[in-house]
């Protein structure tokens, strides 16, 4: 895929969001290049998740525009944005706990079948999606859990399942909200490798706290502070920026995290 400077899959223009006098997101012009893994970092309360909620319209912006593939999507509702190929994950793992692991993936596959409003046909028509679902589960190493109840999975596996479900929709753009939050070391590496693997042929925008993961994965980093963009660039540029060191991480933390 040819990548030019202007080939932005997603951009925002003067995106702002205020909550009763408090400005959570302040004039953000974010440009995500096609094919990148783009990380959004910043201290707690910097507005990262709010930006995510604005991009997917789970919150309406106060002002500004959102463009996806140069199409203005500012006025669309969340489900319509998802149908365009922008699929998000959530900070807490977003699975359907009382459905089986297989059914979780099938719920996503089912959308393109266009039979989801059919309440008069048997669910057996969905069985033809099982092979595809198993294949997707295999790609995240969950095929042996296909018939388990989802609530019984470990936290790391739930996140892997979430990624498999998202992949089922073949999204052009994946938005991952803190995919490694609350995980142990082994799980973090597992999920980081998985993200790297699925980033082929698609664009990923992720909010991430773990700088080790960011340094390993991200092509570009945007640092948010108090709702506004502080700086942008690759990991070396961003971590060398004195403002970032001071405002976000504290000088020592950066060195520790980099060496870790």
């Amino acid at each position: 895929m040819s990548k030019t400077e202007a080939d932005f899959i997603l951009s925002t223009q003067h995106l702002s969001k205020g909550f009763k006098g408090f400005t959570a997101v302040d004039d953000v012009n974010l440009n995500v290049s096609r094919g990148d893994i783009h990380a959004l970092i910043g201290p707690n309360g910097a507005g990262k998740t709010t930006v995510f909620n604005l991009l997917t319209k789970f919150l309406p912006p106060s002002s500004g525009k959102i463009l996806f593939n140069n199409q203005d999507i500012t006025s669309l509702d969340p489900a319509a944005i998802a149908r365009l190929g922008v699929i998000r994950s959530f900070q807490i793992s977003a699975v359907f706990p009382n459905l089986s692991v297989l059914e979780n993936v099938r719920v996503a596959l089912q959308r393109k079948e266009k039979n989801s409003l059919h309440f008069w046909t048997s669910e057996r028509v969905l069985n033809k999606l099982n092979d595809k679902a198993i294949e997707l589960l295999a790609s995240v190493g969950l095929e042996s859990f296909a018939y388990s109840k989802t609530t019984d999975l470990s936290y790391g596996r739930k996140r892997a399942l979430e990624i498999a479900t998202t992949l089922a929709l073949e999204p052009e753009l994946m938005l991952l909200d803190e995919p490694t939050q609350g995980m142990g070391h082994e799980d973090i590496d597992l999920v980081a490798d998985l993200i790297k693997k699925v980033s082929q042929n698609r664009t990923i925008l992720m909010v991430e706290h773990n700088l080790h993961v960011v340094s390993k994965l991200a092509d570009k980093i945007t640092v948010l502070q108090r709702g506004a963009i502080l700086t942008e660039g690759d990991y070396a540029t961003v971590s060398a920026n004195p403002q970032v060191r001071e405002a976000y991480m504290g000088t020592e933390t950066v060195d520790q995290e980099v060496s870790a």
């Binding site: 489900a79 319509a80 998802a82 149908r83 699929i87 079948e113 989801s116 309440f119 669910e123």
Partner: protein
Amino acid sequence: MRSRLAILVLLGLALAAPLVIYPVFLAKVLCFALFACAFNLLLGFAGLLSFGHAVFLGTGGYITGWLMINSGLTPEIAIIAGTVAGGLLGAVFGKLAVKREGIYFAMVTLALAQLVFFLYLQAPFTGGEDGLQGVPRGKAFGLIDLADNQTMYYFVLAIFLAGFWLIHRTVHSPFGQIMKAIRENESRATSLGYDVNQYKWIAFIISAALSALAGSTKTLVFELASLTDVHWHMSGEVILMTLVGGVGTIIGPLVGAGVVVSMQNYLSGGELGNYLHIIMGAVFVVCVLSFRSGIVGQFNKFRRNNF
């Protein structure tokens, strides 16, 4: 194979029951069971707690009753008309209610149902406080005279089975799969590209129409349509039946309706009649506090753990 056998046994029992038990009582149980199953479709499988479902039961009853008295239509047409009326009312109320979530959804449904209650209290065609009395049962398809209680029971059984089958099919359909996903995690369902309100709305309409079907049938059984069926007490009662039987299980509401209706019939005739509401309230409290999954839910758990 075993579940198929169980269904056959239950069906056999249902067919033989009126030989032993008073058929009008059995028909009443089936009407309430259908009502509770329809309600459970919404609460148990779509995760929506409606506090105004009596309005659909009552509307079905009034429409069918009025048509039977005034139009000379056959009972199955009058029942279909009542069901359609309930479905249409459900489409309007559902459209308004699904815009809200949780307790607000419950409040919207309650408010709308109360509105209609007072309308029915004043409107001439409902007979106000008196209700519609002496509704003729008529001849089904113009052939089968329903005046005989036993015949009436089998007619109700057929309607119940059709309604129950539709609920079962809805739960186990591609639509049902999405409905359950929405119950489990609504924002995730949205983020996968599903318009969740559309799914909730359709579930609401199906539930409302089947509640009206129950009401229409009940009117024929008792030859009476009254304000009791539209009162908010009735909306509470169906919640009680569903919870006692087991919310989110297919068969639970049927068991719950059986238990509640039996208790009402047994107690109101005896010396404990004055304490009926206290006893029902106590049952409700015990149920919510100690076995939240209801009789059937608890039984399923017991079976899983021991066999």
